[in-house]
């Protein structure tokens, strides 16, 4: 029985989107982080973690979003990080991002940034 990653010959596959995309910075960082984690897990474990993503979720995620799930799953399984730590760090990021985008701050930053070139 084929698992969700085992795509060869799936008959419902449609047109191939050939649009070229440069990798986003976060995707490059993610690739670097994954390769830097060789001490914690090997590439076969990484593939297995991707394959184990629940099928409905697998279908909706982008290629590198699947990597994030695999990375997180393995680091937690191996005891390198905990789910709580990651959630907590996300909260810190959210708080900072929100603070930075208070309307008045955003406007003053934008104006400040343009002064040099426009005047």
């Amino acid at each position: 029985m084929s698992k969700v990653h085992d795509r060869g010959g799936w008959s419902d596959a449609g047109f191939i989107d050939k649009t070229e995309h440069d990798l986003a910075m976060w995707e490059k960082n993610l690739m670097a982080v994954c390769s830097a984690c060789a001490a914690h897990f090997n590439v076969d474990e990484f593939r297995r973690a991707i394959e184990d993503i629940e099928p409905d979720t697998y279908e909706t995620l982008s290629y590198f979003e699947r990597w994030v799930i695999a990375l997180e799953t393995l680091l937690i399984q191996k005891g390198v990080l905990t789910l709580e730590e990651i959630d907590q760090k996300m909260k810190v990021f959210e708080a900072r991002t929100n603070r930075q985008h208070l309307p008045d701050l955003a406007v003053s930053h934008r104006q400040g940034g343009h002064n040099d070139s426009q005047i």
């Binding site: 990798l23 670097a32 994030v68 991002t97 930075q100």
Partner: protein
């Protein structure tokens, strides 16, 4: 310790793009934690990205151009690609590398149906379509149809060979050298050799095509 600087470094990524998706933020959070715990350094991450960025299809094009002009090198490349590219100071750490050659009668095309294995050392990061579920599903069962979608119509007489790189080997296609390139230097030839021609979904450009583009 420079935890704060490193944390700020990971955070700058977030700050630059408030539209960053949940998963992108999640990745940044994991990176920041690994840095804080001293399991990886921000410098190490940067160095890895620099190495990734240095890998482009120009590396593969250099290899193919040499194979076009140097029959002995071509023979060595087909026999043991890893050893042959090492002559050009291109190091293939692992896994191994295999070169397959397009001829008048044979057209090769590469896929990885299980994940997205790709000869990154020679071609850089793989294109989105190579990783797509559609390409992975279709090229093994309907290579000619997929190639047609890429604008490559093959004669019935040509044997199409699909390589599904499921294990330790990475494949690169040596496209056919176009006619009318006999006078060209190795460097000029390299400019004709595209990423897609080394995956096998296109031919190398012709000199005329080169001038048009």
């Amino acid at each position: 310790m420079h935890n704060h600087d490193h944390d700020a470094d990971a955070h700058s990524l977030i700050a630059e793009d408030p539209e960053l998706s949940f998963y992108a933020k999640r990745a940044a959070a994991i990176e920041a934690l690994l840095i804080e715990k001293g399991m990886v350094t921000a410098d190490n991450i940067r160095r890895r990205i620099e190495i990734m960025d240095s890998r482009t299809p120009a590396v593969g094009a250099q290899v193919v151009a040499k194979a076009w002009v140097d029959p002995d090198f071509r023979t060595r490349l087909l026999a043991n690609a890893k050893a042959a590219v090492a002559e050009l100071d291109i190091e293939v750490e692992s896994p191994n590398l295999v070169a397959v050659e397009n001829t008048v009668g044979i057209h090769n095309v590469i896929v990885c149906t299980l994940c997205s294995c790709y000869p990154t050392v020679l071609l850089g990061a793989s294109p989105g379509w190579y990783k797509s579920l559609e390409y992975r599903a279709r090229v093994v069962v309907d290579a000619r149809g997929v190639l047609r979608e890429f604008g490559l119509e093959l004669d019935e007489e040509v044997q199409v060979r699909v390589y599904d790189s499921t294990a330790e080997m990475r494949y690169i296609v040596i496209p056919q050298r176009p006619d009318g390139t006999e006078h060209m230097s190795e460097e000029e030839l390299a400019a004709l050799i595209t990423r897609d021609s080394m995956i096998g979904v296109a031919r190398a450009r012709t000199p005329a095509g080169e001038m048009e583009s």
